[in-house]
Symmetry: C2
Subunit: 254 residues, 2 copies
């Protein structure tokens, strides 16, 4: 999620968490990272989200954030344990960088050598994230470039990762939110006039008109749409987009 005002994700998360062991097979752990300014906090559990007391807290305790990354895991590379649970957060350039990956990679250790940012767990996903951070360090050194320069370069990296299998990837520093689509990513931007929406995975509906102000702009990006009565944009294979303060940013004109 990317938003221009601190926004909670209780509605979206109520649907997503059901896919972790109830309406979906992604039962091998889950995590969510909320940004508040430069700070962030993560909630993680290697247990299925549909049955996790921590996930239940996240649905009920409205934490308001301008950027949120959620992940529910279906393990294919690396065992089910805390260190293999997304999203992964690392520090660079005095910021928290958070990353989540959907898909699987082959031959990643050989093709994506790592020297600086060593993985802690054993997933292909964290390995690819560490490789990205290494490449950013080699390319830009100690100085973070502009968002457009940075994420255009990250797009070339995610594209290379995607060649090793399937890599739908989300990366954010809490300001900009980058999304790379390998095969499955959908997004929706909600703004005034707000309407109603109904979750696919739970019997929950919301009238955003009563929850928002006219100036709010909120984008949600998800592997599959979370609601069945709104129009979601489907991203195409190899496409990437950058979101900031709730809106899609055009980077192709740089």
């Amino acid at each position: 999620m990317s938003a221009n005002v601190p926004t909670d994700i209780c509605f979206s998360f109520s649907g997503l968490m059901q896919r972790g062991g109830n309406t979906g097979p992604h039962k091998d752990g889950w995590g969510v990272t909320f940004y508040e300014g430069k700070g962030c906090r993560s909630f993680k559990d290697p247990q299925p989200s549909a049955h996790s007391p921590i996930a239940e807290l996240v649905t009920k305790y409205p934490m308001k954030s301008e950027a949120v990354v959620c992940h529910i895991r279906q393990a294919n590379s690396g065992g089910v344990c805390l260190e293999n649970t997304h999203p992964f957060t690392r520090q660079m350039w005095g910021k928290n960088w958070t990353y989540a990956h959907n898909g699987q990679l082959k031959g990643f250790k050989e093709t994506l050598p790592i020297t600086l940012h060593l993985p802690i767990g054993t997933t292909d996903s964290e390995h690819a994230f560490c490789w990205i951070l290494d490449q950013l360090h080699y390319q830009f050194g100690e100085q973070q470039p502009t968002a457009k320069v940075l994420f255009s370069f990250i797009a070339t990296l995610t594209s290379k990762i995607d060649e090793l299998g399937v890599a739908n990837i989300i990366i954010t520093d809490g300001e900009s939110l980058f999304a790379y689509c390998a095969n499955n990513l959908h997004w929706i931007t909600r703004r005034a006039p707000f309407g109603k929406a109904s979750l696919i995975d739970a019997e929950v509906a919301v009238d955003f008109h009563t929850e928002t102000t006219p100036n709010d702009i909120v984008t949600v990006i998800a592997t599959q749409p979370l609601t069945d009565d709104e129009i979601w944009h489907k991203m195409s294979a190899g496409q990437w987009q950058l979101f900031c303060l709730g809106e899609s940013i055009n980077c192709s004109t740089d």
Copy 2:
């Protein structure tokens, strides 16, 4: 906490959380980091722990861990916000390193210059942690030394930090837990035969005999004792200790 078996901290945390805005003045946020193997997860809130729904979850949902770091904050350097909330976790040598600081420092920006591990927030505490990580990188490069060599060196760093004010410091990688005492640190090791204990800050008592096995060894380190019917060791100014699998390790003979 350091333990030789995965142990929950529900009892100790029930007392500590009261000091964050109820029985104590440390109302400017709180956090706790639980290790499970190489992975860790943190729960943080810039709100007072005594009134935090997240803290309530931590007291009621037994997460079992061999190393835990908790912190309740009384702000003196840096505003009350998420990025200034302890404990701080960073990655080095393929491990998660977690750090918490009690005290305050003066002139830290000039005396402790940082080049590699840039702080995200504005606290003296995180700055000192980043300085420690920089020094570890310069001293040991890409290879982590033995625990005794590493923590003996860290002790020289914390001693230097302590010269800038007050620095009671806890650092762990989930295996070894290092404690440096500036003026206030107490610890207790519980092992068979286990007895009863009563919290100072809440009307809660526990009979550890019914909660443990005879082989369990659990050490709790705290600024001030958490129970009033057990004998806690008081550390002396400038003293440091290393704990591993619940026991104090003698490093002075190295």
